[in-house]
Point group: C5
Chain length 323, copies 5
């Protein structure tokens, strides 16, 4: 486990990293804002000193430790608790990391499931005093963290969107038999993303309705903007699913068109030769009395009849647009 | 970038075009109304003088510059911000242009993504004093702009509707193998249009509920009418999708009916000749003792039997309605 | 264009027909109620004298003239505006006519798109003093007009319902290849009806909620009844669509069952004769040393073997329930 | 037409049956409660004496007489009007009967479409003083009547549920070609039941919200229970539809698996014999110079080659899991 | 039937088990809390002493005894009644047990359908004073019981989830013909679970809204957490259904791809040999005058022609990507 603590106010900012939660607590900022970030929390006991100081409800601790926790936002007496899933991309694979966030009037505590540097951008904005983050309250910091999580979804969706365009081209290639299972993989990814992003939408709506005194009125346009972004993610997911369904229909239609074409040509070849084979069979019979056999032009005449039959059938098929 | 500024009141109207936003600001109308239109804004800094004068929130500027912004309407302290997508048609292709609109008590500022003359009609109505636009407030101008955007959707839907009628005729042509992929293209267009028009519907509803003092009571029937038009667009899109689904079903059924007919006829031909070929094969055997071979009428009798078998099979198929 | 004006009160009733709107206005009833009906309005200017007298909003006039107007109900300062689609049946074809209705305290103005006699029944009830229409207010007249429009939908649905029962019988007839496209035509009709009836439902709900003083409390059960009828139309449409979907499934299943049966029988015939044809081919070979050929019972033995093979295959197919 | 009238109070109960409505009215109970039941009402005029006494609105009478009336609950000045559909089972067939119910403070009037004894159980509870029905008010009687109607739906659903279990077994029997059309019949029954039960759900909700003084507070848990039962009917219908859809998928998959298996085996037989037939054809040719024909072991060698080819093909098909 | 009664307060706890309900009642705790658990209630009369003491409504008793009762929560004058379904797993089989719960200020009464030890964990927490259960009220005990029921759903879903991952692997195995019916079994299980868990969701929402004085404010976060868990169960069910639908699509596509491949190869073999068989048939004819027959190189030339034709067809099929 590794922890970091950042203290800042409009004038300055400092950062410390420690190995245990207990160590952290001696650094708490007074006057300004404090941001405590805890990575890869495994030992439930380690959280207790924090829980006592910030009066954290046992259910909140349970939710922080439960990695399958559904995204939610809940108001408690002394703090606001928000948990959501961040998206993580490793090449083709998409995973999720649980981010929990506790907002008190002067402190933000974040819990990350996987050690990493997801919040690097925000940390830099605080340390280098970029934008207005230093002049805003703890609620703005919480907003900035959630916003950076949602932004990552947009980047992922862009990548998926490019993949869907590829599918649209592949849909007409009838030999691409792996298309359907590739499609299903993307579809399952969309289902999994929607499953974690959908509750976030409700949570942001309920945050706006909570009218908590932990959230300043000033923050409202930011929260609305955030909610708007989440809705856009959800709508983009829906649009992608519809596009994928369309790709699938085109592909099935292409496959079946092609199969039909192949079978038709092959069947027509058989159909033309079968009567001809019958005719040559007739004159292969060994009957003692078959007057045609002796006729001097019988052989060329038979050829003529066969060419005529074959031609007639071809013409018939052509007329009926079967060829 | 090119900008234009129009000042008007019930008595008169004037227009100026400039290259930079800064130049524009010296022309601001006093007493009457001002309409500032900015084309193809690329440099975010260029907008700052405007932002300062009209007290525009940083989030609004971000939304204006983000071309993927979801349509929305938001009220700020000093202005109402509306962003929506205009539809652009280039022959068969359909694209979208982001239109952002800031409404203050005496000024309307519009931002267009693509330089063009979408608002030509409204400009003419102001300059030539057509209708009541000059006698109405800034809110009516905003309404007129949004209305002209929505009208363009209706024209596009009419064109698409004509295309769907063509599809209904093509559905029964079994040789039209490109129908499905053509259908999918239209379907994707419908999905894309719905994606940008759907949020507009909510926004207009929320505008009506906002009860902002930027919007006069007098404007309410116009806004309701506009909302009504947007709902009609959405419903028309849904109807089109259902009609397309129907076209697809008819086409699949036509294709499969035809394929079945072809395969059946071909299979029946094979089925009739196969037993006959067997019979002629029998008398092609070279056994030393085959009494039939010597019989003087064996050959015509064999023909008779074969004609009888073929006729019997044809009759059987006919009776079972397989032909 | 032809116009009619009816004046009535509990005591008496009179009717006039004129060619122009202007003429009409001299006949306006005082004390009692007036019903002005205008057919096939084409010239927008002709409506202006009416508009001035009844203080009709320009948007209302626009809606009356726009034949693609979505059904809606709107309250203005001096009147209630309702526009809806009447269904028109010409034998198999179903069309729609736009009916617009303006309700003021003492006058009802109706606009019909197509000259005809849709309101004949109501006119008779007024002139012949049938039922309580003469004793009721202008709101009841408006209700009676809308009710007669909705009743026409019920009659149309009854006819469509009979057609669906026919489809259920046709579904099992595998030779009925036009079933699917006939089904689709009915489905499209259902889609088109739903599109015009659906908004009516909301409008009646909003009329009930409007609490307008143009509508007496006494009329409420009638409006509720009317709303109920509209909901019943919508639900019947949904039921029909589900029944049609069922018919389609049965038909596809019947077609595919039959095709499978045909193909199976034909394939089995081929499969039985192909090995036999091979055997007769063997003894048709011209090798110098083929001992079987000289055997006196070779021919009948070969027949025996072939009958045995054919019988064995038939038995095998029968056992596996392939026949 | 036959009518019955029951009068009861906690102390006693009496019953009369008459042929006309007029006769009934002389028996009205004073002090206690009266239940008037009218069977198979055909003559609209016969209802008028009732209508006058109980001040029944013309729309209510219309609804009672209209057999296609959608279930609804409506409050009028002096009474509550409820109309719903009772389910009637005749062996396999399911039909509906319209039950209308008027609830006044001391009287319940019921109208049945089909003469029968649906309310026998309730009549017995009143006459034999079973349960608390005699001690409760008119609202409880109305509840008991509706409850007995809803109970009949549960019994019908149980029967349908047993049928669905049969379908699940039949789904895997590929020769059961009538399954799909049997399924569709049950599906249509479910659609028809849902159509009449769905509005009942809303009506009970609206009854609970009406806060009518015709319904005692004491009755609320009973109405909630009833509403709960109706919801359970609707949910059971939905579950059945989903189960039927599943049965259909399993059946289609079973049919197609089997068809594929049959076609594959048959096609493989043809495929093996076709090259062999070619070979025997080769040595059936009558060319003057064919060296193989004279070779003493040509015939057995040919057989060897053919067995080798057939065996190789079988092995190849086996390896590819085509057999 | 077997019953147990537990009395506890922060200081101590005791447990008694009896055979009849009547015996139980002598043990009721005073001062502290009482938990009465009744297993496998069959005799409706046995419940009467309880009903009298706790003033239980007859409808509640009916609901407790009706095993098909839909989950619900209802508030009565003296108690809160909750009934829900617990999930029971026996290896592969999934069943449901009805749990009814009556909450009074100082007593919780639970009814289990099947004798078993579902509540073992809670009993241990009370007896061994684990956690805060002894310090909390009767409402917390009720919460803990429902929570343990919902937890069992999560465990079941985890098992099902593992099964779905197996399906995803099996989907691409075209010989796995039992996949579809296995899938349907899981799908039916999901339908059945959703049917009993869905109403629970509403009930918890209504419990939170009831604002009953039986539920302390302190319990609210626990109830919200519980509701959250139920929603997560429902969403997981939906996700599973979508994943199963995807598995099905992949499997159908795999099956059809494979069938097509097989049929194509087989048909191509036939198509190549059919013209060759015709050629050898030609030279098997017995015409007296067939000049080719006498040609010394006719036999090798014929072979050459046949190899050329077969090669040409193979090349043609290859070029068209039919092989």
């Amino acid at each position: 486990m590794d922890c970091s603590i950042i203290g800042y106010d409009p004038v300055g900012a400092w950062i410390k990293t420690t190995d245990t939660v207990a160590e952290l607590l001696s650094y708490r900022n007074t006057g300004g804002l404090t941001w405590i970030n805890i990575n890869a929390l495994k030992d439930p006991l380690a959280i207790h000193p924090l829980a006592e100081i910030f009066n954290i409800h046992p259910l909140t601790i349970e939710d922080i430790l439960d990695r399958e926790q559904r995204p939610k936002a809940e108001e408690f007496a002394d703090y606001l608790f928000i948990t959501l899933k961040a998206i993580i991309r490793h090449e083709e694979e998409i995973g999720f990391e649980q981010i929990s966030l506790i907002l008190t009037p002067d402190t933000v505590i974040t819990f990350q499931e996987i050690p990493g540097d997801s919040f690097h951008g925000i940390r830099r904005r605080i340390m280098d005093n970029i934008g207005k983050i230093r002049r805003m309250g703890a609620d703005y910091l919480a907003y900035a963290i959630i916003d950076s999580v949602v932004d990552e979804y947009f980047l992922t969706l862009d990548t998926l969107g490019d993949g869907i365009e590829d599918f649209e081209e592949r849909a007409l290639d009838e030999n691409d038999t792996s298309l359907i299972s590739d499609l299903q993989k993307v579809k399952q990814t969309l289902i999994r993303i929607r499953r974690v992003i959908w509750p976030l939408r409700e949570n942001l709506i309920s945050l706006l309705r909570l009218d908590s005194n932990l959230i300043n009125q000033e923050l409202e346009p930011f929260l609305k903007d955030l909610q708007d972004n989440v809705i856009q993610v959800v709508e983009t997911l829906e649009t992608y699913r519809e596009l994928l369904a369309g790709v699938m229909e085109v592909n099935l239609s292409a496959l079946s068109n092609r199969m039909n074409k192949v079978m038709k040509v092959l069947t027509i070849i058989s159909t033309i030769f079968i009567p001809l084979t019958f005719i040559v069979g007739v004159y292969g019979m060994n009957f003692a009395y078959m007057p045609e056999l002796e006729h001097p032009y019988a052989y060329p005449i038979t050829w003529g009849v066969m060419v005529f039959i074959a031609g007639g059938m071809l013409l018939f098929f052509k007329r009926r647009h079967w060829l």
